[in-house]
């Protein structure tokens, strides 16, 4: 009995370090952000002015907020296609269709993940320069002209997503490959003997059997993708032209560290967090049930 008690005390002792880290770096900033969202403050004034819900009202009334919300939606859609659907397919192809050079493709596609996104952004400013970059030069003989993507609504989001994909594609691919490798080869072999088309092998066998990994990558694509996109936004467009490339996360940053309106910035962060909480709840409610966990 005493031994058991000792065991559980010891368990809590082991928890302390990570709990302390969580408190200092997550819970405290979280509550402080909520606190700040009720004040008008520029980070150096000695006095914070209490304004109640005014920051939220200002935010919800500003037309730019809705534009940025729309942008965020498009970022999510494009990132899900490029960073979730596409690597899912590629990892399937690598596992069951391609026989040779698998190792080469894996490392080649993974390589950009270890390069800083700031470097990538600067690199892509040059590669995708619509007038004189290599892509523009290659497309010219084909009669295709690159749009002035950094200054064009819509294209700017696509361009920034491509840069982010360059960075995150490889990691997602490796994770999905690991997930797919859990599907037992006997099942696939049996399906092949029965002449089941590849398309159906993918959708009816591989996807359901690797859905635990699939849903994990789905969620980190949304949550981390929006944070990764921040870097090229900051380096290349600063949210422009006229907020066409800003997203919820950049909006918080812009308010806090460009305009020094910590109140509005915190309110924006809190709203973003609520939005993601709702999305996650929906996910648990409707998607999680259909997910297959091997263990």
């Amino acid at each position: 009995m005493a031994d058991q008690k000792k065991q559980s005390v010891l368990g809590y002792v082991f928890l302390i370090p990570s709990l302390a880290a969580f408190c200092v770096f997550m819970f405290y900033p979280l509550f402080y952000t909520v606190y700040l969202s009720f004040f008008d403050w520029n980070m150096i004034q000695p006095q914070k002015k209490f304004v109640g819900f005014q920051n939220y009202v200002i935010l919800l009334r500003a037309p730019n907020t809705w534009k940025i919300l729309g942008n965020t939606f498009w970022y999510i859609v494009i990132l899900l296609i490029l960073n979730w659907a596409l690597p899912y397919l590629v990892s399937f192809v690598l596992s069951f269709v391609v026989g040779r050079m698998r190792g080469f493709y894996k490392s080649a596609l993974f390589l950009p993940s270890i390069i800083s996104l700031v470097v990538g952004s600067i690199l892509y400013t040059w590669i995708l320069n619509p007038v004189s970059g290599p892509v523009a030069i290659l497309l010219k003989p084909l009669g295709i002209r690159l749009p002035f993507w950094t200054k064009t609504d819509g294209w700017v989001i696509a361009g920034l997503c491509i840069i982010t994909t360059w960075k995150t594609f490889g990691y997602n691919l490796i994770v999905l490959l690991a997930g797919i490798s859990g599907v037992s080869p006997e099942v696939i072999e049996a399906a092949r003997l029965d002449n089941v088309p590849l398309r159906r092998i993918f959708f009816d066998i591989v996807v359901p059997m690797s859905s635990a990994t699939g849903i994990y990558v789905f969620i980190i694509t949304i949550v981390q993708g929006l944070q990764y996109v921040f870097t090229p936004i900051k380096v290349i467009t600063q949210g422009g032209p006229n907020y066409a490339s800003s997203n919820l996360i950049y909006m918080s940053y812009h308010n806090a560290f460009t305009l020094f309106k910590t109140g509005t910035a915190s309110a924006a962060s809190v709203l973003t967090m609520l939005l993601f909480v709702i999305l996650l709840l929906l996910e648990f409610r409707f998607v999680e049930r259909g997910v297959y966990y091997e263990n």
Binding site: P17, M43, I44, N242
Partner: protein, 436 residues
Amino acid sequence: MKRNGSRFAAMILTGAMAAAMAVPAVSYAGDTDKIKIEYWHCNSEEQGGKTVDELVQKFNESNDHIEVTAKYNPDMYKGLMQNLQAEAATGSYPAVVQIGWAFLDYFSNNFSYTSPQDAIDKFDSEDSTFLSDNFLPNVLNLAVNSKGDQVGIPYSLSNPVLYINKDLLKEAGVSEDGPATWEEVAQFAKAVKEKTGKYGFYMQEPADFWAQQALIESNGASMLTKDADGKAQASFASDEGAEAMQLVADMVKDGSALHVGWDEGCQSFIDGNCAMLYTTIARRASVQDGAKFDVATVKSPVWEGKDRKVPAGGCFLAITAQGDDQIQAAWEFEKYLYSVESMAAWTIGTGYVPPRKDVADAENGLKDFLAENKMMNAAIEQMDGVVPWTAFPGDAGLQAEQLLLDMRDQILGGQASAKDAMTSTQDQINELLNAQ
């Protein structure tokens, strides 16, 4: 026993981790007797960063009691201001900082700094006339805020010039000496587009409104006017202002001018895809090194029959060091940066126009350099047209600057006419200014 041993080890490990977290971050200085100060700048590698490092290294080697660390801040003066704000929130300050002209009022209203004359009087009293001996009054005046205080000393002085690709202009059949007026710029750009298929013109679009201020103020508009009570009001949406912005918007619309990011635009000029580039003289070195064609600079274009007005770009140096020994060290370093040799190195490395007297003609200064680098002359010759870079007063200044950038995007992106966008932006800015 073995099991107990490993458990014991695990506990020690846990304790060590917890302890490591509890220890506050203390930095142990190697040389405890040296005063360490930080110098914050905005000079990326291609915009004078190497010269900053060389100057700092030389200073550190030439003295035994101060060690300067240079810290680069991305995203120009706005980026530095943001970092300074964040740093100040933690209660620590760098010793010497570069402050962009547009932030003169914002900086002096919100941060504690030491005026250069105060530092001189306190720590360098035998040289108490340093400022008036070495600087022209109108140049010193650029760093005086709206309350009349000398906040710092002008350091980097630049103004916008027009870089031209003579080969392309010749090919287009227009004068290879470049345009003198904005009307000619539009005309030349059109000719380039029609004759060569390349772009005619690009006007810099970084995260500030500096170049556009030159464009519209040269046409007789003014960014800011003080009314009878001395209250500042935005006033750029006049007919002249709108005419000026519309000229560039129309060029973008008919495809003779580019509307891209600053780096993209400069790249396109340097590799010969754009005939004229309107940007700061501070980019001279990188343009001169990169261009494989006959490149030259001409003075900032004027409007037919009107005077040239070019805002002073660049920055002044302010002392934000706290505590006497830090301030003294900061001043010693600053004085070194303003020596003839350092100023000359600075001009050669960056293309900024020297703010202090006697550098251009001195043998140990720029005499040989200017004889060889004729591209500097356009910037030096138009110093009589230099006006202060408009800083919107008070805490609303940052937001006003942002509104100008949004307005520029709307106009050049073709979402709104210059007149409409400028009128509504002017109203918004005045609303902000009146509210404070």
